[in-house]
């Protein structure tokens, strides 16, 4: 069985690890409490931009050195930014622990060089343009903006082309010093880890992190103005789109809600690909390409997404069908065998996931960062197995009866889509 160990360093940085000496690999990740919700208007997109800049050089390494060394260690490494956190991670062979930890730790003290900043700005603008061309054409971001408001949880992770074009490196430095403080950061590890070696090395490497200058909090945003580059229209016109894309958003459980497991099971019974209620009604019959729903947990709030993709002419009838499936579930509940099937599937899924340390890393790191809590695979499975039909039915009544925001992305000519 894997062993869980954790500690807090003298500078406040926390380390959490699930150790399994039998692993062929080891995964490491810095989880930083810096996401889109922590930004103000003039910082929109900064958490993500900063994520890119972490690969652009430190006092000890040039940008080329960083990328070259990551490749020399042969593993898979990357980073991502969400509304609530930024994560830098790598999976390598266990013998490379010292080198990858030295590199990842060093990367978290970036130079933020002005020339690199200017070049990377172009890459971010390309990333924004890339997503503009991809289905569902920003409909999820728009749903979050309208539902939560365009700030806080509703702020776009990538920012907008406007906010990125006007971004300055000095604002990034202040943001970095405000968010990348040891008490805001967790180093998580999973797999074949030398925990004592890890703690000793990171204690020594991060001594200076406590000395990062403090910066005054930025001025609060004018709540009566919509940030530059943001629209709150619920209809997104995509001239050439063949399909119509619907995203619905209503409240859901937060990552600390006691009913979050029941909500996940409900989402699976209703929306799983290949055998859920919405699948049989809309996908298996060829009515829609996608028809699903799921809860998404944030630290102190939650969202419940519905997503449907189909031909524009079928959109209204499909949305009615979807609503009927939802209402039937709320009114008549679920069958015990549906619950059993979902739990069996989730159990097998967890066992398969847990074989790769890299799959375990994200749950461990995020949970420790936000809740200072650890759940082993078996504990998570126990929570799932404890869910009853009544729990799921209560979740349906609680979460599937509220009205929310609907976003439609489709060709302008499809006026029939309402």
């Amino acid at each position: 069985m894997p062993e869980f160990r954790e500690t807090t360093l003298s500078n406040g940085l926390r380390i959490a690890a699930e150790i399994d000496d039998r692993g062929y690999s080891a995964a490491y990740g810095y989880f930083v409490r810096a996401g889109a919700r922590d930004e103000v208007d003039c910082e929109a997109g900064l958490s993500h931009f900063l994520e890119h800049m972490m690969f652009k050089g430190t006092a000890r390494r040039s940008a080329t050195d960083v990328n070259r060394e990551l490749d020399e260690l042969g593993g898979q490494s990357n980073a991502y930014t969400s509304e609530e956190q930024t994560v830098y991670y790598a999976t390598v062979l266990p013998k490379f622990q010292d080198r990858i930890v030295d590199l990842l730790t060093d990367m978290l003290s970036p130079t933020l060089d002005e020339d690199e900043f200017a070049t990377e700005r172009q890459v971010i603008l390309e990333e924004i343009a890339k997503y503009e061309d991809q289905p569902p054409f920003g409909a999820f971001e728009r749903a979050m903006e309208v539902h939560f408001g365009p700030r806080g949880l509703g702020r776009r992770v990538l920012g907008t082309a406007e906010s990125i074009r006007t971004m300055e490196a000095s604002i990034m430095r202040d943001y970095f010093n405000r968010r990348y403080r040891p008490e805001n950061i967790v180093l998580a590890a999973s797999g074949n880890i030398d925990f004592d070696g890890l703690v000793a090395q990171v204690e020594q490497l991060t001594q200076s992190w406590a000395e990062r200058p403090t910066t005054p909090p930025p001025a609060t945003d004018p709540s009566d103005l919509v940030p530059v580059g943001i629209s709150l229209e619920t209809r997104i016109a995509i001239p050439d789109a063949q399909q119509a894309y619907f995203v619905g958003i209503t409240p859901g459980p937060s990552s600390t809600s006691t009913d979050r497991y029941a909500a996940r099971v409900l989402g699976s019974i209703m929306g799983d690909e290949g055998g859920s209620r919405l699948f049989w009604e809309l996908i298996d019959s060829g009515r829609a390409e996608v028809a699903t729903l799921w809860p998404h947990e944030f630290i102190d709030a939650g969202a419940w997404f519905t997503y449907m993709v189909c031909a524009p002419e079928d959109a209204n009838s499909n949305r009615r069908l979807m609503e009927e499936v939802i209402q039937r579930t709320v009114a008549s509940g679920i069958k015990p065998e549906e619950l059993q099937q979902t739990i069996s599937k989730a159990t097998a899924g967890s066992i398969m996931q847990s074989e790769r340390p890299s799959n375990r890393l994200f749950g461990i790191g995020s949970r420790w960062l936000t809740c200072q809590e650890y759940l082993s695979t078996d504990e998570t499975l126990d929570c799932l197995r404890g869910i009853t039909v009544e729990d799921v039915e209560q979740a349906a009544k609680k979460y599937l009866t509220t009205s929310g925001t609907d976003i439609i992305a489709a060709a302008e000519t499809d006026s029939a889509v309402t």
Partner: protein, 427 residues
């Protein structure tokens, strides 16, 4: 750099056994895992579709899973979910493939279920229209993905009309398919002849062979048709679109996986595009900021291969992106360094070691190696091949086989200028 050899687990033998009816069973025990996975591959891919029925092979793959043996369509899903089987299926140019990963206790039942699916499907006529609509939905969704449109067309140009057919078919083709077409295709192409069943994970070899014999031993055999020859041509095509980015796809001829020089070629593409210090990522994205995505990768059919690449960039920088990307490809070996080759080796070797953590990943490698070269390859053998590559091997291959005859497809507001292009078309 530290050597990474001698870090793999003791070499695990691979059992390779072909039944009289032509089904080959490959088994690799991975006793340290809790899971097992299977991959079943039949010669019922896109290439045996009649020309006017594009999409037929995919539709048959869908229809045979809508009820088989004692199971209805819904029963199949329920029984597989309850066994914890994570599954996928799909067609490629040559094959139809079914993959399943699960806790190892479920393996015997899974083998029996897949035998029912491929041997005793109901092919319910009253579900054909639903399945056809499903296929059309998928096809329309792809039309909204500019990258997919570019790469699909590029593949047709690269391999030619027959070999380069899309796995999604065409809307006309799908609409024309009848129940008779489904049945005929199934009866002709679903058989044990030349088929491959690979299994890896927490399994015992003899037990697997016994189960496979019981499930597939008396399955009928049949003929395997050779793939059409690649006959693509160098060409440039542009799709006009008001997209935010110009999407650039490029391809050139290469050798397939089974070719003796394959890894000499593959190492060059690795230096070009594998990892964050690779040339395309470093010189097109990191140094110039021209795009977010730029990649090149190798693709193999049994009788041909290609290098396919993609870059997405805003229209005003698209020409520069194409020029720089092609320049990097063409000048690859001029200053290639040993450290670049060594980085690529570590990456591949680490991947091979980490593959020991996943039965599903190992299973698909077993099936793919066997399909491509007709025998399994052990991790040790592959490591030795990779480790023995020298910089001169890579240089010699690429100087003897320089990239040429580019097929290029772009989608965006404006067409680009293609160096030395003989023929170009606006679509």
């Amino acid at each position: 750099m530290e050597p990474v050899l001698n870090t793999t687990p003791a070499a695990v033998p691979i059992e390779c056994h072909t039944l009289p009816n032509g089904l080959t069973i490959l088994v690799q025990p991975m006793p340290w895992l809790r899971t097992a996975a299977l991959s079943l591959n039949l010669h019922a891919g896109v290439h045996v579709e009649p020309e006017h029925l594009g999409g037929l092979s995919g539709l048959v793959c869908e229809m045979i899973q809508r009820g088989a043996g004692k199971y209805s369509s819904r029963d199949l899903v329920a029984v597989q979910d309850n066994l914890g089987i994570d599954r996928n299926s799909g067609v490629s140019t040559a094959l139809v493939s079914f993959g399943a990963a699960m806790p190892s206790e479920s393996l015997q039942a899974a083998m029996e279920i897949y035998a029912e699916i491929v041997r005793n499907p109901h092919l319910p006529q009253n579900q054909l229209d639903d399945a056809k609509m499903m296929a059309v939905q998928e096809l329309r969704a792809m039309e909204d993905e500019p990258t997919h449109r570019v790469m699909r067309r590029l593949r047709e140009l690269h391999y030619g009309k027959d070999l380069g057919r899309s796995i999604y078919g065409t809307e006309t083709g799908i609409n024309e398919i009848t129940q008779d077409n489904i049945r005929d295709f199934y009866q002709t192409n679903y058989h044990a002849g030349g088929s491959i069943l690979s299994i890896a994970g927490k399994v015992e070899t003899q037990q697997i062979l016994d189960w496979a014999q019981a499930a597939f031993g008396d399955w009928k055999t049949g003929e395997v048709h050779a793939l059409a020859s690649p006959n693509g041509i160098a060409k440039y095509e542009h799709f006009e679109s008001s997209s935010s980015q110009t999407h650039i796809g490029f391809a050139f001829n290469s050798i397939p996986y089974g070719h003796p020089d394959y890894f000499k070629m593959r190492a060059g593409i690795g230096v070009l595009s594998d990892g964050m210090s690779s040339r395309l990522f470093d010189r097109v994205r990191e140094q110039r900021g021209l795009c977010y995505t730029v990649t090149a990768s190798c693709h193999s059919l049994k009788n041909g291969g290609g290098v396919f690449g993609y870059a997405g960039t805003t229209p005003e920088r698209a020409q520069e992106t194409l020029d720089v990307t092609l320049h990097e490809i063409e000048h690859l070996i001029e200053d290639i360094e040993l450290s670049e080759l060594e980085r690529w080796k570590v990456r591949i070797e680490s991947g091979l070691i980490m593959e020991q953590e996943s039965s599903a990943s190992r299973t698909s490698s077993l099936a793919s190696d066997f399909y491509q070269i007709g025998r399994p390859i052990t991790t040790d053998e592959l490591e030795t091949t990779i480790e023995s590559l020298t910089l001169d091997d890579v240089r010699h291959y690429w100087s003897a086989n320089p990239p040429s005859d580019y097929r290029i497809v772009t989608l965006g507001p404006n067409a680009l200028t293609i160096p030395n292009s003989s023929e170009s078309t606006a679509v």
